[in-house]
């Protein structure tokens, strides 16, 4: 087997590092790899088209955009802020830990689409976290605001990734089961789910700890800003 198709990976790494638009980098990597493997250009373009068309389902979530936009126009983010301002104990870290728990527990129960970046983080969690910071620390710089938003997104990802494998019918568990079955091991999905629990607890401990430290970092940033 030839190692030349790995050239596409080099294109990816160099392209991303050089800051070229990711769409261009990805198409260039696909063409490099395919041509290096001896495929014809037309065959490659058709393969790109087929996979793009077959994966349209990942874009279904964008149907939510007009609804979120309509609610934002009526003041959804502002209302989310008002709600959190009333909770005296709220800090960015504690709020995001609460969301991390919610996300991990609901995905572990199979409710993956209950929360998400488009349906909860942008309209609710990020504005709430920003408001919690403003109540405690006063006006925040745009840098701090972006940092808080990035952490809000990270809480969603960590919660979803390290919760979903506890649910026995999730696609990754089924993939592991199917692959091991092909190799002659018949394993009950429940066993796979159980062995996902230690990592889920570790993920919560590590990310939760970092979210608490985020509170201290934000306080420090606010002090520096005042000086």
């Amino acid at each position: 087997m030839s190692l030349w198709p790995l050239l596409g990976i080099a294109v990816l790494v160099i392209g991303f590092a050089a800051g070229v638009n990711p769409l261009i980098v990805i198409v260039a990597a696909a063409l490099t790899t395919g041509l290096a493997a001896g495929l014809s250009l037309l065959h490659l373009i058709a393969a790109l088209g087929k996979a793009f068309n077959d994966s349209r389902y990942v874009s279904i979530i964008w149907l939510v955009l007009p609804v979120i936009g309509l609610l934002e126009r009526e003041g959804l983010q502002e209302r989310a802020r008002m709600l959190i301002v009333r909770v005296r104990a709220a800090t960015v870290g504690r709020l995001l830990i609460a969301y991390l728990v919610l996300r991990q527990v609901t995905t572990a129960l199979g409710l993956t689409s209950l929360c998400g970046q488009a349906q909860t983080v942008r309209p609710l969690i990020a504005p709430m976290a920003e408001a919690a910071a403003e109540v405690r620390l006063g006006p925040i710089s745009s840098c701090t605001r972006y940092l808080i938003r990035a952490y809000a997104a990270s809480a969603d990802n960590v919660g979803a990734f390290f919760g979903e494998d506890i649910f026995i019918a999730v696609s990754s568990i089924l993939l592991i089961k199917a692959f091991l079955q092909q190799n002659g091991f018949d394993i009950a999905p429940l066993r796979l789910s159980l062995w996902a629990i230690p990592t889920a607890l570790m993920a919560f401990a590590i990310h939760g700890f970092r979210l608490l430290r985020l509170d201290r970092r934000l306080e420090r940033l606010a002090r520096e800003q005042q000086q």
Binding site: I26, G34, F52, L63, E78, L180
Partner: protein, 317 residues
């Protein structure tokens, strides 16, 4: 029977609306670029199944060129910050109602839609109930929002356009990465990576095999953007032959923890666009790697935890 195709028509209609409104937006110097991009995306969702692979491939190349160099930011009509503040006070918490309708319908729909039949034909494709229920939840939420707030007639499209433009080209990134994955598969990238892993790594010790498998899962996931693509390759190259067969490890623990080691890679790569790059666009962060930066310090210790966990458990049960 309602399947994904009908949901795609809905998405296609939405993108077509965004394209039409982009065309009339003189505030955007690059409005033709936006119109073409959203228009082609509408074509993909409305007619993609009839177009044929090559035509779809050309469409992908056109979307790439437009997305990378021809799009600007539109100026859709919306409310001002002051108006929103006032509206939020007047409307109170009822404003959350439509947002909560979506998950409620999604859950109930997922549990029930597959079982509803009309003359023996299921109402919704039983294999796709989750996505169909999600789309249904969004439609009902839209109806509730329209009835409750009575916005101007074009507000739905304009607000959709505001958020579509905020995400911009990144909206097709997840699908484009799936295309790259497909090309990697037919080009034999997985086999080549597996060969490197087994020929160049010292794997003579049970710990070395676990370390190579977990780090390999994370790295290969970073390249592919998806742990699902890395799992079969790394498990066939290192997991099954070494950890299970040579050193007598437990396949269930290896598989479960190995997949999660891959997820540590997902946290740290721009290739996992829908988790890392799209949210950065959605939250309007100037640094498109901002979310990844917030996640890497979690990913690295968690990968170490997975290695330790696997080593302690896999040879014991």
């Amino acid at each position: 029977m309602i399947g994904l195709e009908q949901v795609y028509w809905l998405a296609g209609t939405m993108f077509a609306g965004v394209a039409v409104r982009s065309f009339g937006d003189r505030a955007n110097r690059r409005r033709f670029g936006n119109t073409a991009f959203w228009g082609l995306l509408a074509v993909s969702f409305l007619f993609g199944s009839e177009l044929g692979d090559l035509a779809n491939g050309i469409l992908v190349l056109a979307l790439t060129a437009l997305g990378a160099g021809a799009m600007g930011l539109g100026a859709p009509r919306t409310t001002s910050a002051a108006e929103r503040e006032k509206s939020a006070k007047v409307k109170g918490n009822s404003i959350f109602a439509p947002a909560l309708v979506i998950p409620a319908v999604a859950i109930v729909g997922t549990l029930t839609l597959g079982k509803v039949t009309i003359h023996g034909v299921p109402l919704a494709d039983p294999k796709q109930v989750t996505l169909i229920a999600l789309a249904l939840g969004i439609l009902i939420a839209l109806a509730v929002a329209l009835l409750r707030f009575r916005p101007p007639p074009l507000a739905t499209v304009e607000e959709g356009r505001r958020l579509c433009d905020a995400i911009g080209w990144a909206i097709i990134l997840p699908q484009l990465l799936a295309s790259l994955g497909a090309v990697f598969v037919i080009s034999g990238v997985g086999g080549a990576v597996g060969r490197i892993a087994t020929t160049w790594l010292p794997l003579g010790h049970p710990l070395a095999a676990v370390v190579a498998y977990c780090i390999g899962m994370a790295l290969f996931t970073m390249v592919m953007g998806n742990a699902f693509a890395a799992f079969p390759v790394m498990t066939a190259a290192v997991g099954v032959p070494l950890i299970v067969h040579r050193f007598g490890g437990d396949p269930a623990i290896m598989g479960a923890v190995g997949m999660l080691a891959g997820y540590c890679g997902t946290l740290a790569t721009p290739m996992a666009a829908n988790y890392n790059i799209v949210p950065a666009a959605l939250l309007e962060l100037p640094d498109r790697n901002g979310v990844i930066r917030a996640q890497i310090p979690t990913a690295i210790p968690l990968l170490l935890c997975n290695i330790v966990l696997m080593y302690l458990l896999v040879y014991r049960f």
